[in-house]
Symmetry: C2
Subunit: 404 residues, 2 copies
């Protein structure tokens, strides 16, 4: 198939993305929520802090009792109680009285300020306050952090440690999150063997098995891996079996456009193929279909082509299936050297950034895994450009920007 | 304790870091290696590809047989065999012969080039080649990607999907990685309760329980969580119990400098306290000790102070314990407004970046969790600076730069 018969990258991306939705929600313990995705707004059930509290270790007082006093002329107060962390005092402070108080403890009734321990002199139950204290000093108001009814986090938020803290403070120990998509990964190819130091004949090590388990994990989804021979019957059996219990499939191999397309034929038989062949280099032999209302991403068997296809067509959709809207943005950098390209084709060129510059790696062949290991970004050359000149600006997509 | 008695942040960081080493290595299946850290160099056991292979679907030929031929005057060859994926042919190509070959299959003996199917016309066993082919065309040399003996990855590498592909291709199904540190997290405080909508009296929700489970996970380590009352006996029991089976401890609460320092006293009793009180805001009441040759990080009970202490003193050490050298770098941004600071103290101010600018959040109090949720970075004001003027450059540490 020639370029004119291939689907433009953008069209394929839009077609795939618009055919997918999230895979539903589940309730989980807040303890297990790190890096999960909120499927609901969190509205606080509580004030936090739930009471006026002391911001310092010191003495709860009536500020008025200290007005005009100083180090040379300390206010004389009487200590009538002590409030430790986790304690409450029922004592109401009256004129001339103080209560010793720990950081975080509730301010007792009658008090409107806390004086830090450093500015006092205590002797048994008598206290000297060596400065004039402003009302409200060292008192954290109730609800200073969050108030009952506040929206503390929005739907779609990917939860960081501090987000869990605010959800807990809002009164929740369980939350609704989007389910992680369960993805069946099927590597196909009669020539593939697992890694060992003594391969022979036409055997090739199945590196895609490892790449795509990790790829699915890196997209915060849950992979199940199997290998399958290049037999339409076997592939169909495995596709049907995995689709019963998974939310989507990724296959590698069997997508070539000019030979027996085992995987694409199976998808066509059990569902519908929407994309087969894209104007992408590397990565032309990419297919996408829907079977049993679930997505089937059909990648090339060639390791690098498959990785590029996964970054271009799969990753953001695995995010979308779990409620994450992830649209990585290109940055602009200066090309160290000329990069040729063809009109009508989008190129993803493995490259290494260096400050505001970028250097395309000197590699050819979509089997060169080392190029993915040594690069940190793609130079993306859109289909309406005939390459980039030396010293010209180009669009760069860093690998770091693709993951969460 | 006043500023002059507090340890400078840099000194505390150096003291902690120099007292720690990695927690050893283990062998794991390559399948489980995503985001693990290599503890050995990977030297390839194989050539990849392991043989000269065809880069295209087409015909393996002798290039010499096509010299001078063209579309109008095609070379006439005889098809003597077919090699599919995973197959090997024993046939040796002689003058005037061709073998049909699949992408990735081994080039048969006698052949030195592959002509793409598109440039041929086949009729039963006769083949017309419509162009002159250069020797080596569409042939991927043996070892093009990696050669036996090549160092494909170095010690300390945090493994991405493509790294697993190259390790597999180098012939390994198992690898040596650094162990993940097992960290006991002890939240202390009589006032702490688990989240619920009906708290009363002096009860405070234990948000640190959630924050620090997730924090340890975010540092790729493995947390065990417990809560403990403010009792020296209880804390000592739990510290001793957890230290038997863990590589280090993180505690929250009980580190205040002016009151009963339960946690610090326990660490002093069962080990040695190296740091107590640092010139950091927020986060002054931080402690660090070594007990049974394992690190004990003692954080404040106040959520935000504890998070800042964890970012400043704990995170990079959890990385170090698993062989990762992680030194996040500040970036320079323009301050939207004046930020006061004190000489002799390092400030970590929660802030929000906006392109090349940064805006400090308007918050006070080390209990305001919302400030950590709404910010994306710290403005770091070193101890030799008396604040930053509006429009001046300042050092910014983004939260994204802290994690892997």
């Amino acid at each position: 198939m020639f370029l004119s018969n291939l689907m433009p990258v953008k069209k394929a991306q839009d077609m795939i993305s618009s055919s997918l939705k999230n895979v539903g929600t589940e309730e989980i313990s807040l303890e297990d929520a790190h890096r999960r995705v909120l499927s609901e707004e969190i509205v606080s059930l509580l004030n936090s802090p739930p009471f006026e509290r002391s911001a310092m270790d010191g003495y709860a007082i009536r500020a008025e009792d200290t007005f005009g006093f100083s180090e040379n002329n300390p206010a004389k107060l009487k200590i009538v109680d002590t409030i430790g962390a986790g304690q409450v005092s029922d004592t109401i402070i009256k004129m001339g009285e103080a209560i010793k108080i720990a950081t975080g403890a509730p301010i007792p009734k009658g008090s409107n300020a806390v004086v830090m321990e450093e500015y006092t002199v205590a002797d048994k139950d008598s206290l000297g306050v060596e400065m004039s204290i402003t009302p409200g000093e060292n008192v954290s108001p109730m609800g200073e952090d969050i108030e009952t009814g506040d929206i503390v986090l929005k739907k779609g938020k990917i939860l960081k440690p501090q987000d869990l803290a605010i959800i807990a403070s809002a009164g929740y120990s369980k939350i609704e999150v989007f389910k992680k998509p369960k993805i069946g990964v099927i590597t196909t190819g009669n020539e593939l063997v697992m890694p060992r130091p003594d391969i022979s004949g036409a055997e090739i090590i199945n590196s895609n098995h490892y790449t795509f388990k990790a790829f699915v994990e890196s997209a915060l989804a849950v992979p199940t891996l199997i290998h399958c021979l290049d037999s339409a019957k076997k592939v169909e059996e495995e596709f049907e079996r995995l689709l019963e219990t998974h939310d989507g499939l990724i296959s590698t191999g069997g997508t070539a456009i000019s030979k027996g397309d085992v995987v694409v034929d199976v998808t066509e038989k059990i569902g519908e193929v929407l994309v087969h062949g894209v104007a992408l280099r590397p990565g032309k032999p990419f297919g996408f279909g829907i079977a049993h209302e679930k997505p089937v991403f059909m990648l090339s068997g060639y390791p690098v082509a498959a990785m590029v296809q996964a970054d271009v067509f799969v990753r953001n959709n695995l995010y979308k299936m779990q409620g994450i809207d992830m649209s990585p943005q290109c940055v602009s950098k200066i090309a160290y050297r000329k990069i040729p390209s063809s009109l009508g084709r989008t190129d993803y060129i493995r490259a290494k950034t260096d400050g505001s510059n970028v250097r395309p790696l000197k590699i050819k062949g979509s089997g060169i895994i080392r190029s993915m290991v040594e690069s940190d970004s793609y130079i993306v050359i859109e289909e309406n450009l005939e390459g980039i000149g030396e010293g010209e600006e180009c669009n760069v997509l860093t690998y770091d920007s693709l993951t969460i």
